[in-house]
C-alpha cells in the first residue's frame, strides 16, 4: 500500500512517500494513522494531533472512519491552505 505525505507531515516524517504493509487489524484511515504513529519518533511527531490530519484515498478526501481496503494510494496532510 502506497502512502504519501505532504507539507509538515512530510517534513516531520522525513519522506514524501513509502510503501507500507500494515497488519490486517488496521482497517480504517484512523487505524492507519495510529499504526503509522507507532513506527518511530518522526511518525509520532507527524501524527501527534490526529484530529488535524487530513486524508485522501486515491485523490479524494476521506474521513478517518473510511475503510482502506482496496486503496491504491493513501495521502496524509495538514489542513489545506491554497487559494
Amino acid at each position: 500500500m502506497k502512502v504519501v505525505y505532504f507539507a509538515w507531515v512530510r517534513e516531520r516524517i522525513g519522506k514524501a512517500e513509502e510503501t507500507v504493509e500494515p497488519p490486517a487489524e488496521v482497517r480504517t484511515v484512523g487505524d492507519l494513522i495510529g499504526w503509522l504513529a507507532g513506527r518511530g519518533e518522526t511518525y509520532a511527531y507527524a501524527f501527534e494531533t490526529p484530529r488535524v490530519i487530513r486524508a485522501a484515498i486515491d485523490h479524494a478526501h476521506v474521513p478517518p472512519e473510511t475503510m482502506i481496503a482496496g486503496a491504491r494510494e493513501i495521502a496524509f496532510f495538514p489542513p489545506m491552505t491554497g487559494g
Binding site: F6, A75, T81
Partner: protein, 155 residues
Amino acid sequence: MTIPVTIRLQEADFDTAREVAAMSAGRTDVGAVVSFSGVCRGGADGDAIDALTLEHYPGMAEAEISRHVEEALTRWPLFGVTVIHRYGRIVPGENIVLVVTASSHRQAAFEAAEFLMDYLKTRAPFWKREESAAGTNWVDAAAHDDAAAARWTKS
C-alpha cells in the same frame, strides 16, 4: 453548446489580464465576467515575508479543482470558467490563483467565483510555506475560510 473550461496548475506566473480578456473575446452571449486574482502579499512591517512556497498534491489537485468546477457548472448558468493555480516559489506581488467566471447574469458570475475560491482555499490540496527573516513556517488554515466554504453546503 460546450462550456469552455480551462484548468491549469503551473509553476510559471500567468497574465490575469489576458485570461480575463479571453473569457469574453468574440462572444455576444456573455453579459457578466467576474475575475478573482489572489496575489502574494508582502506582509505588514512586523512580519514581512520574502516569498511563499506552494506545495501541492499532483493528480489530486487537478481532480479536486475539476470536481468543483463541475459542481459550479451544475449550480449556476455559466458560459465559461477558468481556474489557474500556481505552485512552487512565489514572491510578493506575483499571482497565486485566478478564477474567472462568465454568465449572462452578474449574480451567477459572482456567486460561482466566490464558491470556487472558497473551495480552493479549504479543499484543494495546496499548502503554503512562508519565508521571512525569522525563517520558514507553514501557514495555518484560517477558521474564517472554513466558515466561508460551509455556506455552500447543500442542506
